[in-house]
Symmetry: C2
Amino acid sequence: MKAEAALGIDFGGTSVKIGLVDSRGRMLQEEHCATSACADLPRWLAMVAARVAACRSAGRRLRGIGVGVPGFTDYERGYIYNLTNVPGWRGVPLAAIMRRKFGLPVFVDNDVNAMALGEYLYGAGKGLRHTFFATLGTGVGGALVIGGKVYRGAFSMAGEIGHVPIRMNGVRTAEGRGGLEAYVGNRKIAACAARALRRGRKSLMTAMVNGNPGAITPKIIAGAARRGDRLALEIMDYISDCLATAFAAVTYLVQPEAIIVGGGVAGSGRLLFAPLRRHLAERLHPYFAERIKVIPAVLGARAGMIGCAALALRQEGTGA
Amino acid sequence: MKAEAALGIDFGGTSVKIGLVDSRGRMLQEEHCATSACADLPRWLAMVAARVAACRSAGRRLRGIGVGVPGFTDYERGYIYNLTNVPGWRGVPLAAIMRRKFGLPVFVDNDVNAMALGEYLYGAGKGLRHTFFATLGTGVGGALVIGGKVYRGAFSMAGEIGHVPIRMNGVRTAEGRGGLEAYVGNRKIAACAARALRRGRKSLMTAMVNGNPGAITPKIIAGAARRGDRLALEIMDYISDCLATAFAAVTYLVQPEAIIVGGGVAGSGRLLFAPLRRHLAERLHPYFAERIKVIPAVLGARAGMIGCAALALRQEGTGA
């Protein structure tokens, strides 16, 4: 008999990734599909049905299905309130629909929660007790794993570091004032670099984007920083310090053993982590500065699938 | 036979309060003693021994003893690293010493953690799942109760809201930069009012302190605000907004159902809570603004004793 496994579905804005994952977090099989090809519920279910059938005909015992979505969910009820970048998914009781259709336990969670669990169990957080996970992208997502379980709080979305204020009198947004994301989201970073170039700052980036500041991306900034470009290094330092400010809030409030950082910018390695650790140490009492770890995520693009499968493998309580 | 009870000891900088508390959180008996009269360990133990003997001779079955101290502790080991305002208590394995002496289970925790548990079980948090407790005094303390248990994090001091940064480029302290406490601690508030008076601002407070700005206290500010004094109201508004900034961080990261506020300034009632709730709502997405509750603590000066006793009544796991 083959080892027990679960399907982990990472439902993103551009692609849906389905992975078959065993109870040790190993990826047995993996398929991707453009979100546009299955963006409505019937086609989405058909696509999952095909994967479930394939697993069953291969003699796999499926323990369940976990789904991670980019939006606002109620984990207890397996309910999707709405998805940020995928229209038509407002008010969907997805777990109930899937349970009926597949006769399997189904768990639906916010994608960042799933990634956090994946990294905790099988990635950078292995062996730790409490971890905070932050992912840097268009926005800044976060999630909290406490004593082996995703902690969702009373409103299902605990760990929302992107809206944690770092400047009391800062930028106003729908989510409040001075929130981290308003300073370090991908577009903000790119816009910040573009502004400096337009103001006439000299930088390797000008040549890298053929003189078009609008074409700057965080990747280009990181590339220029790696080559010692002063402006790019200044921007990396600023991003790190903004992150460090929010991480100081996480350290004092939540005191995880480690803050695990994933997502695009996190790929910059030492370029990000060296100033980030330095700034965080400046922003903490030495007792905590010596103890808290800030470490890169290791599961990369698979964290979502692995974490979703883990929800199903562990049958993490939903009451439902 | 009398109902089961526990001793809760609230070890403060000026007084030590010992309460006998039953399993429903009711205070059966209460005694206070000046800290100066029992500031060293032998006298402190003798004082507790007298209370234990009195309980036993009255036929009480003691379930254990809980101790809350104003300082840095390791709950798991029942160990005191040091106390902020009481010299001579550095590196004391208090739980082990007391267990040996009294033959009872003993639990030693930070005093704010104990208060948070007291309010959660028997006070403002009754019936809730997750609560954050903040106490306003010389400093600003905080603690987190998650699913019925004090959550201490990996470094034993989770919930330290006083050091949560509200201004990225704010005041530098030993604990970091721009931390809440640097803006709203009792002395900061008083100093802020005194500065304004010295600059010549008109205020009822001038008469209330007989022209001596150095004599201003938070109580005087609250009193003047209650009488409609403009300067005092401005200060209350500023304090509220600083608190709201840190509470927004708590809401986004931890998502408790309620933030319970105790300590001196909290006694100002609506004067504090009205602007606090308004500013917090401005600093949150409406979804969370509608849900999070900000409520006054109700156990007052007894929260510590009751919470300490609760640690012992529930025998909250220490592994020790």
